[in-house]
């Protein structure tokens, strides 16, 4: 029953998947451009953000029409709201990849640090894993899988915090690159946070209750 409506809901989930695919490619390419100091690839990442924005807008429009015409309720409404929020988080991730690419271009001729570049590569892989896990938890309505994102996020947060201590070990010749490296690390850390946010929406979809997985005011982990 309501075949057209069910089809529209499926298409919404497909749009989100399409968005996630594009973001995954952007993350992979942004990190690769950073590590390989590839300005051409960085330019591609920047241009590619238009594609991510295009799907973002289409998804927004589809949600608006679906809400206006089909009046979804219960789990259908939670699905639409989860997609609404996740769409924004994915679009933010795309913007963060663009920022990484721009910072890469600005620092391509500066002396870098192999240790941090390796850390960035690992953070990038972790981000990709988190995006995939977050989307899977949403599609499978799996609150437990969604909450597992916290542990993946901790690794990224830890790497982000270590950037400053590593930079303090390096000499002043790495200073300019280092200042930009802090920002790039922050972007990767924010991509991870956005994936956790999608997980929170997935858990809401599954359980009907929205809660934040972690809260800074109650986070027992040391700031270092």
């Amino acid at each position: 029953m309501r075949a057209s409506f069910q089809e529209e809901l499926r298409e919404l989930e497909e749009l989100l998947d399409r968005q996630a695919e594009l973001v995954l490619r952007s993350v992979r390419a942004a990190v690769e451009a950073l590590v390989a100091r590839d300005v051409e690839l960085a330019d591609e990442v920047i241009a590619f953000d238009d594609d991510i924005d295009d799907v973002y807008l289409r998804t927004q429009e589809a949600i608006e029409l679906l809400l206006a015409r089909q009046t979804p309720v219960a789990s259908d409404l939670r699905l639409v709201l989860a997609i609404l929020h996740s769409n924004v988080h994915l679009e933010r991730m795309g913007d963060l990849c663009t920022t990484i690419a721009k910072l890469t271009k600005l620092s391509v001729d500066l002396p870098s640090d192999e240790v941090l570049l390796a850390a960035f590569r690992e953070m990038g892989e972790r981000c990709e894993e988190m995006i995939r896990t977050a989307l899977r938890s949403l599609h499978e309505r799996d609150a437990v899988l969604a909450e597992s994102l916290i542990h993946l996020d901790e690794m990224i947060d830890l790497s982000n915090r270590r950037v400053v201590s590593r930079l303090l070990e390096l000499g002043p010749e790495n200073l300019e690159w280092g200042l930009r490296a802090i920002l790039m690390s922050r972007c990767l850390e924010r991509i991870g946070d956005n994936a956790v946010d999608i997980g929170e929406r997935a858990a809401f979809l599954a359980t009907g209750e929205f809660r934040e997985f972690t809260d800074a005011s109650r986070d027992p982990r040391p700031l270092v």
Binding site: M1, A3, L41, L65, A68, R69, Q70
Partner: protein, 290 residues
């Protein structure tokens, strides 16, 4: 080779994204054939105007909904499409209604033939006090339509999504069916005479929610082969099922003596329910005024 190049070109190719933008939808609908072209239509009963100055086109293989408050003339308007107003003493229709380009009210037009091609389903299901089979077979028999009658009846019942429920009891009385089944029987009765258009005046307002959903799903299927026009006082129903929606409202003369219906806005349903152009439409669909 870079990762992005390894993953394929940055520009996403062959992406099948659903076409959901409002502008695209209207353009696509307006490319279809016009089944009805209405120009400056007005209807009066015994000299009192009931509806005036309606101009709109109904497109092939669409569901078009007429919505609006009580007394806005939407039922009067839908009756113009199959000349049912002819049967009301004192009713007068002015303006033109073209059906596939021909004047529906032309001198040589047979109203009975009009009502075969442009079938109607009413608010209260009205099956004949006959068997299920004879209800559907009635029209073809009277019109002398050829072919195998059994096949014609089965085909109509299948298209009305009723066959599976009645195939083993076609000789049973139609009045023994549930309300929702009776309404689908009435749809089958209309389909049996091979119409081009199906008009529905509040087709589900007398039905329970599940039967209503079944009728709405049926409209979605039927529009592939027919053109559907419905009157509904249920805005959400129009939002769910219709491709195009016309909003009618009531105007009152300055001295408050006469009320008549007018067409306020006609556009894609998506537009009507997201960004209506007219303030009156916005007030109606948001429930601020009815």
């Amino acid at each position: 080779m870079s990762a992005m190049r390894q993953m394929g070109t940055p520009r996403v190719q062959g992406t099948r994204l659903p076409e959901v933008t409002v502008g695209v939808e209207r353009a696509e609908i307006e490319r279809r054939e016009k089944v009805f072209s209405v120009a400056e239509l007005g209807v009066s009963y015994s000299g009192k105007p009931a509806l005036e100055e309606v101009t709109l086109d109904v497109y092939e293989n669409t569901v078009t909904a007429f919505i609006g408050p009580s007394g806005c003339g939407k039922s009067t308007f839908i009756r113009c499409f199959n000349r049912m107003n002819d049967l009301i003493p004192g009713a007068r229709v002015e303006g033109t209604v073209l059906y596939h380009g021909a004047d529906l009210y032309g001198r040589d037009v047979d109203p009975v033939d009009v009502r075969r091609r442009i079938g109607m389903v009413f608010q209260k299901p009205n099956p004949f006090p006959k068997s299920i089979f004879d209800n559907v077979a009635f029209g073809p028999r009277v019109l002398g339509l050829g072919g195998n009658l059994d096949e014609r009846v089965e085909g109509a019942l299948r298209r009305a999504a009723l066959w599976d429920e009645v195939k083993d009891r076609l000789k049973d009385g139609a009045l023994g069916l549930s309300g929702g089944q009776q309404q689908r029987l009435c749809i089958a009765r209309a389909l049996a005479v091979e119409p081009d258009v199906i008009l529905m005046d509040e087709p589900a307002s007398a039905l329970d929610p599940i039967s209503t959903t079944r009728i709405e799903d049926l409209m979605d299927e039927l529009k592939r082969d027919y053109t559907i026009v419905i009157v509904t006082h249920n805005m959400q129903q129009a939002a769910r099922v219709a491709d195009m929606t016309a909003f009618f409202s009531v105007v009152v003369d300055d001295d408050g003596s006469a009320r008549r219906g007018i067409l306020v806005e006609y556009d894609t349903t998506s537009k009507i329910f997201t960004t209506p152009s007219d303030r009156r439409t916005e007030d109606y669909v948001t429930g601020r005024f009815g």
